[in-house]
Symmetry: C2
Subunit: 146 residues, 2 copies
DNA sequence: GCCTAAACCTATTGACATAGTAGGCAAATA
DNA sequence: TATTTGCCTACTATGTCAATAGGTTTAGGC
C-alpha cells in the first residue's frame, strides 16, 4: 500500500510526542523535526492537522509545544490515518449500486481488502504501536526515555 | 486503500475478457469499453499494460480482440495489481535501516499492513475472483454467459 | 514592558501522477 | 482493397504532494 509522507510523518510525530513527552512536558515542532529529520515547516502543517483532529494539544510561546490531547490508549490508528489522508482507508469512489461488473468487483474484491484494513486499524491503539516499537528496538530508546 | 481507476479498470477488463471470452473468442477493446462504461482510448492504454505483462494476448484486424494468454487460475492477483500500478503493493520508500523512529515504525507497523495485503493477493487467483463475483450476483450474468 | 521562542495561518511553487484525448500506423480479415 | 481492429506516440488538463516562505499571534522569561 502506497503511503504518503504526510501520513508517514504524521504518525512519526505523534509517536515522537508520546515517547519524548511522557512526563507531561510538551514537545516542540522544531525538536521533532530535527530528531526525526523532517522539514520543520512541512511538519507544522501536519501537526496542524493532528491538532484539528483532536489528537494533540498545543501550547504557544516559549517552552511551548505539543502534547497528547488524550491518552495514547484512547487514540485509534484508523482515526489518525483518516485525519492525515481522508482517502487512505476509504474504498473506491461511489459508482452506484447497480449490477455492472464494476459494482460487483467492488463488493467482492475491493471492499474485502478495505474492510480487512479497517478492522485492523480500528482495533489498534497508538499506545500499542508504541509498545510494539519499543519491544523491537529497545536499546536505542532507553537513553532518551526517562 | 485508495485505488486508481487504472487499476480498477484493468481488473474489470481482465474479468470481462474471462467472462465474455469464455469459449475462446476474443473480446475487443471497444466491446469492453461500451459494456463497462470506460473510455475506449483510455482502456487501450490499460490493455497495453496487461498485454505487456503477459496476461492477455491480442489479435489484430477484423474480428480481432483480446483473450487470456494463460488460464485464469494461473493468474495471480498480486501480479495483476503490480502490473497496473507498481507502487500499489510495495511499502514505504527505502529510508535505510537505521534505528530512527522512522525505520522502526516502518518495520513494526507499515510492513505488517503491507505483508498482510501481499499474502492475500499472492494466493488469490483471477479465477477465484470471477467465481466469487458470479456467486454474489448470478442472475444478472446468466443471460450473457453462454 | 520588551525580547524571544514557539505556534498559527496564508500563499505560492515545482514536480509528478492521473486520466484522459488525439491521430496516425500496422496488421489481419472479409 | 476496404474495413476493422490493435499498436504506438504525443499531448494536455487537472489535481495532489511536498514542501517553502513570510508574516501574525501568543506566552513566558528577563
Amino acid at each position: 500500500m502506497k503511503v504518503s509522507t504526510r501520513v508517514e510523518y504524521g504518525l512519526i510525530a505523534l509517536m515522537d510526542i508520546v515517547i519524548y513527552g511522557e512526563n507531561g512536558q510538551s514537545v516542540s515542532a522544531l525538536e521533532i523535526a530535527q530528531r526525526e529529520n523532517i522539514s520543520h515547516k512541512y511538519l507544522e502543517h501536519i501537526l496542524f492537522l493532528l491538532r484539528q483532529a483532536g489528537f494533540i494539544a498545543a501550547q504557544k510561546g516559549m517552552k511551548g509545544g505539543y502534547s497528547l490531547a488524550r491518552p495514547a490508549d484512547e487514540i485509534v490508528l484508523s482515526d489518525v490515518l483518516n485525519a492525515l489522508d481522508s482517502t487512505i482507508l476509504s474504498g473506491l469512489d461511489d459508482c452506484g449500486e447497480d449490477s455492472t461488473l464494476r459494482s460487483v468487483i467492488k463488493v467482492c474484491f475491493w471492499e474485502k481488502i478495505n474492510s480487512n484494513l479497517n478492522r485492523y486499524t480500528e482495533q489498534l491503539k497508538l499506545s500499542e504501536v508504541v509498545n510494539q516499537c519499543r519491544k523491537n528496538i529497545p536499546e536505542s530508546w532507553d537513553m532518551y526515555v526517562i
